[in-house]
Symmetry: C2
Subunit: 292 residues, 2 copies
């Protein structure tokens, strides 16, 4: 809204929820196409946790580039390997079309930033297969059931107390994250010992979920490691998301579980459910932990 | 053993189990390095199901190429996107070192075959991060428990009855696969309706498991779709494996579960447990189903 002299600096909540395509998330994942398959972006400091750019936000940036590069619109499965830690600031995304099929197409994308000498340093590389969620049959034979999570009013967000996370957490202002009190023991110094984390998830400006924001949702909760009594940074080595259904409007429920913490690594399995009780995304990541 | 005139054509079981490095699996995944990062292989017809080359075998071929190309020996996480169906016969693998770090290195590999005009056609592309399993701390805080599966003697293999699979299934001769009768209803025309498959897994010539053969193990069972009442081919779109621990000698237990069958796709989550009750590998794949 730069042309309106009276435009508010912060999206005004009183104007109603932000629309898909015109929201903080959309602006901060928007890319500028420099050449075919080459995109520039300024990584926003708004999606950082303790100074590090959130891995789900990066995945959404790469997902948007591939949606432009591939003939199919929706990420069906995206596999990301995280190489070096991203910083807010300029980045370039390079995409490569691997295969184009009738119902699926596959692409590759890498995000680079620059070292002090201006050389490109690769941050993250993804392989992804895209399709058209709207072209899928309606058939649902799932045995999966939505996670047991209390009503949103009984869950707790960053507005409900001082942040238990060390360092600044800009992303907290961009999300409406309401955690199940049963998975909040870590914040009170009494982690449950179970590798579970559950939350209601939304974008703070009210933008509804779409396949791209699901890539953010799967990596936006505090790490399950906190409930296992571990502290500190849990960097992602690899994360794969499956988007299974276009999400209905309304808040999402995200449930994350860790079964196996061993040898300094753990997996995090996430499920994302929409307001229509559909399982809209599944993800698994391998992450490193510091054993205390 | 080509120099021994009396060498048996088939590895002789009476000579004891095949050793790691000298087994059917090792010979059929062995690559010939043509140039740095370029490897030739003749894909064996011995690992096919109804004429199609098994996806886990292909993953092991790519995994072996990357173990040669990268400075670290063991696959920690391998993400594969399957592009076109592989056939037995000549193939070339091209690897690319993405990043080399102290404890992890990341590489990319593609397997190509040839069309009628001799042009390369890409079959499968992987991103993988490798490390050294022996360098990991012994710390285990896992909450995961081994699958409930009957003793091997109570489980059923291809020797225990006519194959319920249509078409030839050469891979059945290479594996010792003993299925939990509770997940064999499909073979009797009475699928359970639960998306579960469990089996004891070994290589038929007695070769012990290693990280490379775990890449095979996660994709060697009949599809869970059969127990969901579906028939026919369930092609993998994407498969990611995490190898979490070097497997102990002895048979493996593999447990596969599907929670979400919807829109013509399903996920298969596999766990592989070794004889020391360690969770040695986890995988998830997205596969397409024909809805009947």
């Amino acid at each position: 809204m730069p042309e309106a002299a009276s435009a508010p600096v912060v999206p005004a909540a009183q104007d109603g929820p932000a629309a898909v395509g015109d929201s903080e998330f959309d602006r901060d994942t928007a890319l500028s196409r420099r050449a075919p398959g080459v995109y520039d972006i300024d990584l926003s400091p708004g999606w950082t946790i303790a100074g590090a750019v959130n891995g789900g936000y990066l995945l959404a940036v790469l997902g948007r580039a591939l949606a432009d590069a591939l003939p199919h619109p929706d990420p069906f499965t995206v596999s990301a390997h995280y190489l070096t830690a991203s910083q807010p600031g300029p980045a370039v995304v390079r995409t490569d079309v691997v295969r184009t099929g009738r119902t699926l197409s596959t692409g590759q994308a890498s995000l680079f930033q620059y070292d002090e000498d201006g050389r490109e340093v690769e941050r993250i590389r993804v392989l992804a297969s895209y399709g058209d969620l709207d072209a899928l049959p309606d058939d649902v034979r799932t045995a999966a059931r939505p996670p047991a999570i209390p009503a949103m009013e009984q869950c707790l967000g960053s507005q409900d107390g001082p942040s238990p996370m060390a360092g600044s957490s800009a992303i907290a202002d961009r999300l409406t994250l309401k955690l199940d009190p049963a998975t909040l023991g870590w914040a009170l110094g009494t982690p449950s010992g179970k590798g579970e984390m559950r939350a209601w998830f939304g974008l703070a400006d009210g933008r509804d979920a779409d396949p791209l924001s699901l890539l953010l949702a799967v990596d936006a909760l505090p790490p399950t490691a906190f409930e296992l009594g571990l502290k500190g940074w849990v960097p992602t080595v690899e994360l794969t998301v499956h988007v299974r259904c276009r999400p209905a409007p309304g808040p999402l429920r995200v449930s994350i579980a860790t079964r196996n913490l061993a040898g300094g690594f753990l997996e995090e399995d996430a499920e994302v459910w929409d307001s229509a009780d559909r399982l809209v995304a599944q993800s698994r990541q391998l992450a490193r932990v510091r054993l205390g």
